[in-house]
Every structure is written in structure tokens, then in C-alpha cells.
Amino acid sequence: MGTAAPSTRKIVIDPVTRVEGHGKVTILLDEARKVKQARLHIVEFRGFERFIQGRPFWEVPVLVQRLCGICPVSHHLAAAKAMDRIVGGESLTPTAEKVRRLMHYGQILQSHALHFFHLVSPDLLFGFDADPGVRNVIGVAARHPDLAVQGVMLRKYGQEVIKATAGRKIHGTGAIPGGVNKNLSVAERDGLLKDIEQILTWSRGALAIAKDYTSQHLKELRDFGSFDSNHVSLVRSDGAMDLYHGNLRAIDAAGRRIFDQVDYQRYLDYIAEEVKPWSYMKFPFIKSLGPEQGWYRVGPLARVNACDFIDTPEAEAARKEFMALTGGKPNNITMAYHWARMIEVLHATEKIRLLLHDPDLQGTDLVVKGRRREEAVGLLEAPRGTLFHHYQVDRNDQVVRCNLIVATTNNNTAMNRAVEGVARDYLSGTEITEGLLNRIEVAIRAYDPCLSCATHAMGQMPLTVEILDCDGRLVDRKERGGPGDGR
């Protein structure tokens, strides 16, 4: 990414955007009126540290769910993993670990399914240039009702898994420091088993849609907002994909290992965050490579690229097909995120089915404790990517410091690159056309960014795109999807 010209006007992000929750893209032009840089402004939560400081550590897994209405379970589990170490209970009982994994796979399933059917399928089914008034979930419901029902029911099933394991949909309390506070009853298990084969069938169907679309549109998608990048994810000790627990692996665009099997308690030795004056959101990077070369992608694309294999048969077959597209090298096509995401949907469903048949879920040994610690990191692969929770707790059991790196922050540089690439390819002149706006939306959506670690204030979230000339003068501005946008 280039550096803004000294003459470029300073960008001020209005703090109210935290509540209004919009995504804002600023395209900066050079003297020749070509795209010099594009910046995606995302509103990140702030103030959480103050909120959490002074609270007893055992409250944290519940409190952190308030961070985000979209992925509360991921925050719940990441915090619980950190607090496991605080109480010396990181070696969970089989029942506790499996209940948590079940909860996590339910979260992956519901989040990925919702994103794909609700937000992405309209782009794929109707095309990037379709009228935004049709290119939405209501449009899918009208023209592809069976598909829309599948999306709703996959999401609903994932939510039922969460409810059965976390106790409730909102303010779940299932994971506690050192374990869980409930097992899965036989009645709950049977209720979930009843529908699992149907869910598996629908998961296969969703994967087929994403795979076929990518394969059939490869020529168009190969360069769409795409670029070589590093990839970071958790992997199991044997290199398998593991969304709940493992060690950190980073690979470069060609698949070479940058680091591998790094204990995430030491993530600060490997990952640093850069601050830029125009964004509240930080820009993480791999320390050994520095900020210019060390930025990376996380999430489904990174996970499928980084792992050696997937330990469920259908998802593994799908991974092999996915990797064959790029000759076994990492796939750096931004739009391939959707295919990778649906591989994970199938993997999560296979895992849920396996777990539901595991009698350990009805075990009664739920909590362990050991040597008390005062600092710990909890990390997992949330639907959008690697999620870091880092806490320090004093001798009075109060949290004195916390640091979070959420998936969308990890993808910050990559999303900016994607938007910049689209702007370079599709901005003609200085006018923001419908085609440009559509494609910026599509490129950002590939990452499934969580723009809302704040209030639930997202339903009316607009996308605002501005073009500034080399003197910082506003040349054009368009907004879509906000209140008053009748489409």
C-alpha cells in the first residue's frame, strides 16, 4: 500500500460511526487522477478494556459476549480458554472439551451459513451488477425459496447447538474457567441428532454452490480484488485443521512456513500491531517480516491453505479439490473465501455429527483446576479468523489488563488491499458508478468482516464511498444501504 501524499487532506472519522456502524471507503487519487490508495475505515470497538478492568476473572467469559452480537460464542470461548489457564485448568476433561467444541462448531455452522445464504448468495445468484433492490436475501427468498429456507434452517440448527451447550442464545454461560457448567443431556442430544442428516445434505449442497460458482467464474474471479499474501491460522500438532485449539502457523503466498507450531501464549513474540493515523483499527503483522511484508490473512481461506489436512472425510475431499485448483499451493483468490467457508461448513457439520454420537458428552466430570496464574492468552479460530484474548489478573482475582485482536483486525490490511485493487480495476474517471460500488461491496464481503463489535446497530449500516483528489478535495461521494435508502 502506498503512502498518502503530504497534500492529501487528513481523514477524520466521526466517532458517531461507532454507533451508526457504517463502513467507509476513501479512494485517494494522484495528480494524474489515477487511484493512489484506497482506505477502508472500519469502526472497531474501543473502551472494552475499561469495561473489563476490575471485574472478577470468572465473569469475563460471560461479559465478553457483550462485545459483539454476531459472534458472542467466539468471544465466550476465547475468554474461557484464557481463564482456563488462569485457574490452571487448561487440560480440560473430555466432557468439557467436547461440549465446548460442539458449541464452537455450532457457531461456525450458523455464522458461515448465514453469511453465505444471507449476504453472499445474492451476489452469486443474481450477479454483481444486479439491482441492489433485488440482490439481497429477500430477493433470494422470492426467486430461490428452497435455497433461502436451507440458509435459515442451517442457521437455526447452529443456534440450537449453541443453546444446548451454552444454556441460552444470549448471555450463554456454558464455558467457565476450567471447564463447562453443563453437559449435553440425552434429550438435547437426541433433539439435535434428529436433524443432523438433513443438515449434512444441505451443507453438501452449499459447498457445491460455492465450488461450482468459483470454478465456472474462475477467469473473472482470479484477479478480482486478489493478491498474494501470507496466511495465519491455528493448526493441530499433526498439521490438521483445528478450529478450537492448536498452535499458530504462518505461511507465505507460496506455502513456505514462516513459523509453525508456535504456542499462542507467546503470540507477542511473533505478531505485532501497527497503528495508522487514519484508522482506529490496528494493522497486525508478522514481526520477523515487518509491517510492509508481514501482513497476513486469516479466516477460512487462510485455514484451508495453512492446514495439511482436514480430519473429516468429506471436508478433506473438498479441501483436496480446492487445493488442486492452484496445484497444491495456497489459493490467493479473494473470492475463494466463499468456497473455503463452505468447506468449513461441511467440516463443522461432520464434527457435530461425530460429537453427537460420543458418550463423553453425557459425562459428569466437568471442571478441573490447577496452579493459579496471573496472565494468560486464549485463542481460537472464530468464523472470521483467528481471535486473540489476552488477560492479566491480579491476586485479588480482578482483571487488570486485557488485549484483544479480533479476526477482522487481522484481515485489516488485506481488506484494504482488496478494496484498492477493485478501485484500480473498476474506477473509470472520477465518478463512483454503480458497478464500482457493487464490486467494492462484493470484495469486502468476501472477508465477512465483523463491523459491529459495538451495538447491534447494523441493520441500517450503509456503505459510503468517497473519492478525494490529490489536494484532498471531495470529488464524488455515494452511499448505499443506509436509513432512507429505499432500495
Binding site: G69, H118, V149, T455, G459
Partner: protein
């Protein structure tokens, strides 16, 4: 199903007055009103359409960020909408999905309770919001009990024009 009611209170209780919807849901749930199912969540999402479709009436209780004091209550109708990148949907979209996907003729209503503090983390409602919550509760309980949604919506609209009020997004 004949006259069953679903009340969904939504919002983030960790964001001060954004928690008005779940707070109302909690208060109504404690009353155990016959034929009234209560749900609370951080936001509305597509699967709420399946729940809405299983009821005759659905009330969406949310915080509102502007307009008149206390609360408003109005009918909402199925409609689509665009969203750039979010997993949540609006009440109108929930009703449209209930209609289009589950062939339901569920009647929908929005109860917007005025809030004032949304900008920071915090688990408590402001004093003003707490007062509005009490007023909204006094208003909605007989409506839920007697199923007088349409007449109540007309009355409430007379008090607080929906044009003045934007449901907290």
C-alpha cells in the same frame, strides 16, 4: 397459533441503553403471560422468521435513538432492504421472510423504547431509559394480554409519530 404472540426483545445489554429490548423481554417473561412466548437476542437474524411464522403476532422490542420520549408502538409490514455487510435483519425483513419462506401471515409490531446512552460499554440503563422502560411495560402488558395490537398501535402513533422516531438501527 390461533392468537399466539411472540415478543422478541433485541439489543446489546453491554451497551447501556441498547439493552432496552432484552430488558423489556426479561420483564415480560417474568409475568408468564398465557400464549406469549418471549425471546431475547443481540439482534434480529433470518431464523427469527421461522419463529415469527409459528405465531399470529410478533412484537419487536428495541431501543430507539431519537424522536419522542418514552416509547412508540406501531405496526410493521413485510418489506425487503439492502444491507452492505451485516448478519442482522430488520423487523420488516423478518416478516417478509416469514411470508415468503413459510407462507405465514404473521402480523408484526415494533415497540421502540427511547434510549440515550449507546456510546460506551456498560450494563446499566440510564435513569431516563429505565423510566421509559417502565412506561413501555405498563403499556405493552395489557396489549399482549388482550391482543389489542391494532388499536394500541393507532393510539401510540397518535402520541409519538413514527416519522419522528428512528428505531435504533
Amino acid at each position: 397459533m390461533a392468537d399466539s404472540v411472540l415478543l422478541i426483545g433485541y439489543g446489546n445489554p453491554g451497551r447501556c441503553d441498547d439493552g432496552l429490548g432484552p430488558a423489556l423481554a426479561e420483564a415480560v417473561e417474568r409475568l408468564r403471560l398465557p400464549g406469549v412466548t418471549v425471546e431475547a437476542d443481540y439482534q434480529l437474524t433470518v431464523e427469527d422468521a421461522a419463529a415469527a411464522a409459528a405465531h399470529r403476532y410478533v412484537v419487536f422490542a428495541d431501543a430507539s435513538v431519537g424522536g419522542g420520549e418514552a416509547f412508540f408502538f406501531r405496526a410493521v409490514h413485510p418489506a425487503g432492504g439492502t444491507s452492505f455487510s451485516t448478519h442482522s435483519v430488520e423487523p420488516e425483513a423478518v416478516l417478509a421472510l416469514a411470508r415468503d419462506l413459510f407462507q405465514a401471515d404473521t402480523r408484526g409490531y415494533a415497540l421502540g423504547i427511547r434510549g440515550y446512552r449507546f456510546h460506551e460499554f456498560g450494563e446499566t440503563l440510564s435513569d431516563e431509559a429505565r423510566g421509559n422502560l417502565a412506561a413501555a411495560l405498563r403499556f405493552i402488558v395489557p396489549v399482549l394480554t388482550e391482543r389489542t395490537f391494532d388499536s394500541a398501535a393507532g393510539t401510540a402513533e397518535g402520541i409519538h409519530s413514527p416519522a419522528q422516531v428512528r428505531t435504533h438501527p
